[in-house]
Subunit: 599 residues, 2 copies
C-alpha cells in the first residue's frame, strides 16, 4: 500500500522508460491486451514496467529492454489486469491476511477490499489496526474498510469491543483505509439512527466509500430510505430485480459468489439479458472458506462463473478490475494495464477456462502456474492477540445443566431450529424430558443442547438452551469461538462432559473449533488469533477444517455446511431465534425470551 512510491513520485522514471531514455525493469512481450477501458482485446502488445508501475503499453517496446530488464514472453496469451475482490472478510478463511494473500495470489487476485468485522467484535479498533498494518506489509493491495456495526445488535449481545463514530473518524486517517464496511444496520439507516449517520458522515467527509448491506427483499420506501442515506454499493442482492434497482439508483451492485453464496447467476442477467450498462457491476466473494481458496479459487472462480453464465469475458473481467477500481476512486492506481497504474497483471491462455498462468503484482512475479513463487513471510501477531479466550473458570459438565421449573416431569422449551442451507433459523418449541430436575435434549427428535459461553471478559457466564437439526446421534460436543457476530463460544452437544472438555480445550489453545466424542478429540482447528484465525497455511487449515466436517458427520450430522450453521447460531440480527450471552433472543421482535414456555 503506502510503502509503494506514488505515481507522481515515479513519473520521471516512467517517462524515461516510455520515451526510451531508460530501460524498463520488466517487459511482457507479445500478449493479447485485455483493455478494460475500451472493452477490446488487442493482440501483439508489449507492456513495459518500471518502479512497480506500468510505464508504457504499445505494439513494440523492445526499445525498453536493457541488459537488466526481465523479459516475459506472453506468446499470444491474454494479459489481464490483476483481479480485485470488491468486498470480503479475511476471517472467513480462518487464516491471517498474509496467509489469505498467499492462497489467492496464485489465483490472480492482486487487490482485496476487506472488512475485518470479526476481529473488531473481539478486539475493537486495535484489532482492525492489526489487520490493517499486516495488510500494509503485503506485496499485493489490501484496502481495509472500517467495520460499521460493532456490535451488530446493541442491547442484545455483549461483544468483546465496540466501534463508535469517533473510532471511524480516527481510522479514516490511516493509510490503508478505503471506506466504511458494510452498513448492516439497514433498519437503523432507514430510521435515521444518528450513530449510523455519523459513521457514514465521517466516511464521506474523508472522501471515502460507504459499503452497503441491505439484506431485505423490500424495494419500496425502506430501500429508498437506505439508498438516500449514503451506502454506495451492496452485495446482499440475490434477485435480478435487486441488482437492477441498485444500479438504477446509483448504488453499485456487487455480485457475490462465496463459498456458500450464489448470487451471481440471477443478477448477472441484468447485463446478459436486460443489456444494462455493466459499468456499475462489481464481482466479490464476501466469504471464502480455506477449502474453497485451496480447491476452487477466489476472484478467478467468480469471473469464470460469470462467463459461464453468458457474460462476455471482457465485461466479466471489467467487473473484477476497472469497475471495482472506479468504485473506490482508485482507477488511476489499480484495475487496468495502463501507464502509471500499479503493475498488477495476470497472464492466461484462455478467457473462458481462465487458467492463471502467471501473476505479476507491482512489477514482481509472485506466482506461476498456480503456485506462489515469491517469498511472502508470515506476519507476527502480538501474543496478547492470541489470548482472547477467557472463560473465567474451568468448565465442568454441570455448567451445562439446565434446571427445569421445580416439580415438573417434562417442560415445553423454545428450540432453535436449524434450516439447511439457509441463514435464518426457526423458532420451534418442543416438549422435553426432565431428569433429576434438569431439562435434557431429546435424541429421538434431534434436539440437543447448545450453550453460549462468555469468552471475552472471563465472567464465567454460560447461557444454555436447545437446538434442533444437527442430527447428532453419538455422545459428542462441538465448540467454536467463531460465533458471529460477537464471537463468544458456541458449544453444541449431546454430552455435557464432552461439552465441558470442548470448551476447556478451546480456552487452552486460544480458540478455534473442536469436535469431542466420549472424551476423545476427533478434530481440531486451532485459531489462536482472536479466536478467529489460524496462523497456519490455508491448505493446512483447509485440511483441518475438512477433518472437522468428517468428525461432525461421524457424530451423526448430515447437514450441509454444518460448521457454518453452528457458527451462525448467535447471529442475533437474522430471524427467528438465536442465542447470545444475554439469553435466548427472539429476532423477530429483537427481545430476549425465556427458555421455557409457561403452559
Amino acid at each position: 500500500m503506502t510503502q509503494m512510491a506514488s505515481w507522481a513520485r515515479s513519473a520521471a522514471r516512467l517517462i524515461d522508460v516510455a520515451t526510451g531514455r531508460a530501460p524498463a525493469d520488466m517487459v511482457v512481450r507479445g500478449g493479447r491486451w485485455v483493455n478494460v477501458h475500451t472493452r477490446e482485446i488487442l493482440p501483439g502488445t508489449d507492456v513495459a514496467i518500471a518502479a512497480g508501475r506500468f510505464a508504457a503499453v504499445a505494439a513494440d517496446l523492445s526499445y525498453a529492454i536493457g541488459p537488466e530488464t526481465t523479459v516475459i514472453e506472453a506468446d499470444g496469451r491474454y494479459m489481464l489486469p490483476g483481479l480485485c475482490d470488491g468486498h470480503m472478510h479475511v476471517e472467513s478463511g480462518m487464516v491471517t491476511v498474509t496467509e489469505f494473500a498467499r492462497a489467492v495470489i496464485p489465483h490472480g487476485t492482486t487487490s482485496m477490499f476487506i472488512d475485518p468485522h470479526e476481529i473488531a467484535n473481539v478486539l475493537g479498533l486495535p484489532g482492525v489496526r492489526l489487520m490493517h498494518d499486516e495488510a500494509l506489509t503485503l506485496p499485493v493491495n489490501v484496502y481495509v474498510q472500517v467495520p460499521s456495526c460493532v456490535p451488530s445488535a446493541p442491547g442484545l449481545e455483549t461483544p468483546g469491543a465496540s466501534i463508535e463514530p469517533e473510532d471511524v473518524a480516527e481510522a479514516m486517517g490511516w493509510p490503508g483505509i478505503i471506506g466504511l464496511g458494510e452498513m448492516m444496520n439497514f433498519p437503523g439507516v432507514v430510521a435515521g439512527d444518528p450513530k449510523m449517520l455519523a459513521e457514514m458522515a465521517h466516511t464521506m467527509d474523508a472522501g471515502k466509500t460507504v459499503g452497503g448491506h441491505y439484506a431485505a427483499f423490500d424495494l419500496g420506501r425502506n430501500f429508498l430510505g437506505y439508498v438516500a442515506g449514503g451506502p454506495a454499493d451492496d452485495h446482499e442482492g440475490t434477485r435480478l430485480e435487486d441488482a437492477v434497482a441498485r444500479a438504477r439508483l446509483g448504488m453499485r451492485p456487487m455480485l457475490r459468489l462465496g463459498s456458500a453464496w450464489y448470487d451471481v447467476a440471477a443478477q448477472i442477467k441484468a447485463i446478459t439479458e436486460l443489456g444494462l450498462d455493466p459499468r456499475s457491476f462489481i464481482l466479490c466473494t464476501d466469504d471464502s472458506h480455506s477449502g474453497t481458496l485451496v480447491n476452487d479459487g477466489h476472484v478467478d472462480r467468480v469471473v469464470r462463473h460469470a462467463i459461464a453464465q453468458g457474460c462476455p469475458p471482457v465485461i466479466a473481467i471489467q467487473m473484477a478490475t476497472l469497475n471495482t477500481a472506479q468504485h473506490f476512486g482508485l482507477e488511476r492506481e489499480i484495475g487496468s494495464i495502463t501507464p502509471g497504474r500499479r503493475a498488477d497483471l495476470v497472464i492466461s491462455s484462455d478467457l473462458v477456462a481462465l487458467p492463471i498462468d502467471l501473476v505479476v503484482a507491482r512489477g514482481r512475479v509472485l506466482a506461476e502456474n498456480g503456485r506462489l513463487t515469491a517469498d511472502v513471510p508470515a506476519y507476527a501477531y502480538p501474543d496478547a492477540v492470541k489470548r482472547t479466550v477467557k472463560l473465567g473458570r474451568r468448565m465442568t459438565a454441570d455448567a451445562f445443566d439446565i434446571k427445569a421449573p421445580s416439580g415438573r416431569n417434562s417442560v415445553t422449551a423454545r428450540v432453535i431450529g436449524v434450516i439447511e442451507n439457509q441463514a435464518p433459523t426457526k423458532a420451534l418449541t418442543a416438549t422435553l424430558p426432565v431428569e433429576d430436575g434438569l431439562a435434557v435434549g431429546d435424541p429421538a427428535e434431534d434436539v440437543c443442547q447448545i450453550a453460549l459461553v462468555e469468552r471475552h471478559k472471563g465472567t464465567g457466564g454460560v447461557v444454555n438452551a436447545f437446538v434442533k437439526g444437527f442430527g447428532y446421534v453419538k455422545p459428542c460436543a462441538i465448540a467454536s469461538t467463531v460465533a458471529h457476530d460477537s464471537h463468544h463460544m458456541i458449544v453444541v452437544g449431546t454430552s455435557k462432559a464432552d461439552m465441558a472438555q470442548a470448551a476447556n480445550r478451546l480456552a487452552e489453545i486460544g480458540g478455534g473449533v473442536v469436535v469431542i466424542s466420549e472424551g476423545k478429540e476427533l478434530a481440531l482447528v486451532e485459531m489462536p488469533i482472536a479466536g478467529l484465525m489460524s496462523d497456519e497455511r490455508a491448505e493446512i487449515v483447509a485440511a483441518k477444517a475438512e477433518r472437522v466436517v468428517k468428525a461432525m458427520e461421524a457424530c451423526g450430522c448430515r447437514l450441509n455446511n454444518a460448521y457454518m450453521q453452528h457458527s451462525l447460531l448467535a447471529l442475533v440480527v437474522i430471524p427467528e431465534l438465536r442465542i447470545s450471552d444475554m439469553g435466548l433472543i427472539d429476532v423477530t421482535t429483537f427481545s430476549p425470551v425465556d427458555l421455557f414456555l409457561t403452559d
Copy 2:
C-alpha cells in the same frame, strides 16, 4: 459549491423524504427517467427533491408531496441530469463567470469545469482566486482547475504574472479547486521538466485530476511519455486514432465542439463505428464565444451534435453527465438523477432535437423554455482588476514607426502569415518599401503592420512587425487586449494614427477590442476585467462582438473568424512565426528572430 450542505449533512432529511416521513421540497412527476447508470429510459418516473438534492426516484412518489411541495409535471417528457462541460475557459466568452452561467443555464448546463488560464496570465493566482470565489456564489456547479502553464512560453514572453508549483500546491486547498488545468507544456512533460512534474505531483497528492493537452499527431514515444507523466484527460485529439489511443491508455478523450473547434465528428466514431466502451468519453466545449452561447447553445449543442453523428442519445448524454462526474471523482455529487446527488435536472421533450424545456439546479428552477427565470446577481469585481491596461505613455503614431536599416530603399522583412481557419501561422518574407527611412506595409500584397504593446507593467514597450492575410484595404487599426497567452495588446493596422488611437482607447477603458478607421471608432467591446472580460450580459457582448466583425469587414477583412486570428498572433507556442513583447518569435526553433533579413 461549498455553500451547499453535503450529502452526509443532508442524509437525515433525504431519508425522511424517501421513506415518507417528511414532504419533499419539490416533486417532478411522470417523466421519462434518462438513467445514465444503466443506460435506460424509464417512463412513468417521479423524482423527489429535498435540501437541494435528489431524495428518491421511483414510480410513484406522491406520498412525498406535502402542502408546501412544488410539483412539476414532466408529462412524459425526458428527465436528464444537468449537463456538464468537462473542460472550458470562461474568458473565451468575454464575460464573467456569472454572465457565462446566466447564458448557459437556459441551455441546461449545470456543471462546468473551468480553467481560468487567461486571467492567470494577467493577474496570476489572485486572478484565479477571484474567478474561483465568483464561482462559489453561483447557483450551479463551477469547478475550477489551476492553470498549469503560466507563462505558456517561459523565456519567449513576459506575462503579467506567473504560476509556480507552490501556487498550485496552495490552490489545491481551496474549496472549489478540482484539479490542474490543461498541461499544455507537453514537450516539458515528455522531457521530464521538474516544474511540470512538480505541478502534477501537487495535484495528484491532493487526490485531484490533472488535465491534459497533447496537441500533436505523434502517437509514438512522445505520446507514451506524456501519458506516463500523469495527465488524466485530453481534449486536443482531432482524429479517430487520437481518441482511440487515449482511451486505450486510460487517458480520457474529451471530444470538443467549441465555437471554432470541430473535433467530435471524427472521434465519436470510436463509439459509433468501433464500438468501444463509451465510459471514458467526455464532451466539452473548450472555447465558446458569446455569440455561440446566445445563438447556438453550450453543452446541449455538443450533445445534439454527437447524436447527429449517430451516437445513441443516452450514450451522448452519459458523455456530458455521468462520465464527466466519474472522471473528476464527483459521481456521488453530480451527473445522475439518483439519491443524494445535487438535484440538477433538465426536462426535454425530445432526445434528438433536445429542446431544453426546464432547468433545475440544486433543487431550484433556474430556467424555462430557454429563458433564465432565477435571479443570478452580478458579481462585483474589485476596481483594481479593472485597471490592468498600463501602457506607460500615451501612444502617438510614431510609436509604430519601423526604422529600416539606413540607406535602404526597400527591405526584406519577416512577415507573419495568417492561415484561414487554422491556428498555426506561416513564417513568410516580403520585400517592403521604405519611406522616409521607415519600412512600411504593402497594401497590394495584403501586408500591414502589427504591434505588440506591453500593457502589464507600463514599460511603454512596443514591438513592431508585419502581418499578411487580413485583407484590410482602408486606413484602419484593430486593437485587442485579449492576446493569447500573455495578453499584452495586439494592434494590427494600416494607419499608424489609427493604431495609436486604438491603443489609447483600450488603455482608457481598461481593455477590450476596438476598431478604428480614419479616427472614427467603428466598434468596441469593453472588457475591463483584466482586459479580458466584459461585465455586461452575454447577449450584449455578443452583439458588440458582432459589430466588431462587421467593422473589420468594413475595413476590408474577409477572413473567417478574423478576431480570433487577431488574438492568437502572440501565441508563441504554436508555429511558425509570432510576435511577443520580446520580439518576433520563430516558433519552430523557439527563439527570437530579427524582423529584417540581411540580404
